[in-house]
């Protein structure tokens, strides 16, 4: 009897501060609620545009505020093209730095290099934009684009007038901006690869390079993929720096030299001067699409990660 009493009191004691649990639960739900609210509000504002243009909003390239006709294809294209270009540039570089930092660098060099890479993430995006306009763009226009055009001009990607303002510049700026994200996460992934895995390959007579390529990278592939997806997410949503260097012209061209327009850029450029309801609504719909794309990216990433991430914990059964 007495023991039961004690148990009851103790239980009560541990259960009573339900206030904390309640508050924590509320905050947790708040996040989900906010998300739903955002989708709801943006969706409502975009409804007029969705209703007016239907599916042609995705397939039409005509963005004409004067005649109140809107199609978002050039912005979708610009966003995907610049982000993809950024990935093509940033992934090999980031992986290279991550491999150097985790597998090769002498201890005294690791911290300074990591620090410099991480500092890149601290630079405000508008500063990247300024640097892009005044340093990178002229440099690309007067040197790199000429060289690319002459050497690889037979490809559609490197044709057309060279202005230094356009997809290539945006892609490079984005690549620099997502480099720290991909590098830092990949490095952590590689550092977490057990030493016993490296030793196994070395003991079989593998060189350091073979060990990295055949053991370390495959072991960390899921995490590296996650890092790349995070970088892509950042590139897709990046606004300021891209707006400053991409040229802001809603046209679709395969050439990396030609100006383009991205979804965040058109929103930030036009929302203050959108006079008609339909224009504002079209911008809202672009916002909705942008949100949907990032969501889709993350879902696809998760599914893929789950598919290739079938590495069970080692030595689980004896």
């Amino acid at each position: 009897m007495a023991i039961l009493e004690i148990v009851r009191i103790r239980r009560g004691k541990f259960r009573r501060p339900g206030w904390f649990a309640f508050l924590a639960r509320c905050f947790g739900l708040l996040i989900a609620g906010l998300m739903v609210l955002i989708i709801w509000e943006v969706g409502r504002a975009a409804w007029l545009s969705i209703h007016t243009f239907g599916f042609s909003f995705f397939t039409s390239s005509r963005w004409d505020p004067v005649h109140d006709v809107f199609g978002a294809l050039p912005f979708i294209y610009g966003t995907l093209a610049s982000s993809l270009l950024a990935l093509i540039i940033a992934v090999p570089l980031s992986l290279g730095i991550a491999i150097f930092l985790s597998e090769m660098a002498p201890p005294w060099l690791k911290d300074p290099v990591s620090f410099i890479v991480e500092i890149l993430a601290a630079i405000p995006s508008v500063v990247y934009g300024l640097w892009g306009i005044f340093v990178l763009a002229p440099w690309l226009r007067d040197g790199v684009e000429d060289w690319l055009g002459n050497a690889l001009g037979f490809l559609p990607f490197f044709q057309g007038p060279r202005s230094g303002i356009g997809l290539l510049t945006a892609g490079i700026i984005l690549a620099i901006m997502i480099l720290p994200t991909i590098t830092a996460i990949s490095r952590e992934v590689l550092v977490a690869v057990p030493q016993s895995q490296r030793e196994a390959m070395l003991a079989l007579g593998g060189t350091r390079w073979e060990t990295i390529v055949r053991v370390v990278l495959p072991y960390g592939r899921v995490g590296i993929f996650g890092a790349v997806m995070l970088g892509l997410g950042r590139a897709v949503g990046e606004t300021m720096a891209v707006t400053m260097v991409i040229g802001n012209q809603p046209k679709i061209s395969l050439s990396l030299f030609s100006p383009a327009y991205t979804m965040p850029s058109v929103i930030v450029n036009e929302f203050s001067e959108a006079v008609t309801q339909l224009h504002l609504s079209a911008l809202m719909e672009i916002g909705l699409i942008l949100f949907a794309i990032t969501l889709l990216l993350n879902i696809v990433a998760l599914l893929l990660v789950r598919r290739i991430g079938t590495v069970p914990v080692q030595g689980g059964r004896m």
Partner: protein, 252 residues
């Protein structure tokens, strides 16, 4: 006659910590030599010096000579990678490559050194898996991930992986310490089989295991080889009081 190894004046350090002191030892070809001693005595460091794995660790340093068939593996022009190919190693914890299948694991070392076609690789894998006494258990599931095997099977897969490279010497660093008794027994049986084809050197903290499997035993204590000889002599008539103290369980 299988090649043995001769260790001459071997010293090893971790940073400033002098862990192996002037080791001289003859490891006989075609025999199993066990290295026994209390934890931290340097036996694991010693076995890692035999295929130049000690220097892989940051702060690991080695001085001295280790001879394999008339070649000093610490010689000036010797490539550590080639040495490790000739001297295979099995580690304390099973460490198969989790991203590879059983088959891919078995040939993961072979792929580095020889350009065999698919058939050649499959044959080599079967040969190695048979030698490691794993073939019967995995022959219908070669494409399964290696980590789907039990711990004991994983360790035998690691042995197969090392054997597939066709080394001359097989080093085993406490290969059974993470395994249950049944798996331990299988691997001990396997060792008796392996010494027909390989020179086997095993580190063990388990004296019974040394007594069961080894032809020769060396007692390592505080970074030195105190005594070595035929296993029966070490265990029945040790010459050094420290050896006697250890095997009778007075310390360690």
């Amino acid at each position: 006659m299988l090649h043995g190894m001769k260790v001459r004046d071997l010293n090893a350090w971790y940073n400033d910590n002098h862990v192996l002191k002037n080791i001289n030892l003859h490891l006989m070809g075609g025999k199993i030599t066990a290295l026994i001693g209390p934890s931290g005595c340097g036996k694991s460091t010693f076995i890692r010096c035999l295929n130049r794995m000690h220097e892989v660790i940051r702060g690991g340093r080695v001085r001295g000579e280790v001879w394999l068939e008339g070649e000093n593996i610490y010689g000036r022009r010797v490539d550590a990678v080639m040495i490790r190919r000739r001297i295979g190693m099995v580690f304390q914890k099973p460490n198969p490559f989790p991203t590879m299948s059983i088959l891919e694991n078995a040939v993961s070392g072979v792929c580095l050194h020889e350009s065999l076609n698919t058939n050649g690789l499959a044959e080599r894998a079967e040969e190695a898996l048979r030698q490691a006494a794993l073939w019967e258990e995995v022959k219908y599931r070669l494409d399964d991930p290696a980590v789907s095997l039990s711990g004991g099977q994983q360790q035998r897969l690691c042995i197969a992986r090392a054997l597939a490279v066709k080394p001359e010497v097989l080093l085993m660093d406490e290969p059974c310490s993470a395994l249950d008794p049944a798996s331990t027994l299988r691997i001990e049986e396997l060792m008796a089989e392996l010494k027909k084809t390989y020179t086997v050197i095993i580190v063990t903290h388990n004296m019974q295991q040394a007594a069961r499997v080894a032809d020769h035993t060396a007692f390592v204590y505080q970074g030195e080889v105190v005594e070595d000889g035929p296993t029966s002599e070490i265990f029945t008539a040790p010459k050094d009081p420290r050896t006697e103290g250890y095997i009778t369980g007075r310390f360690g």
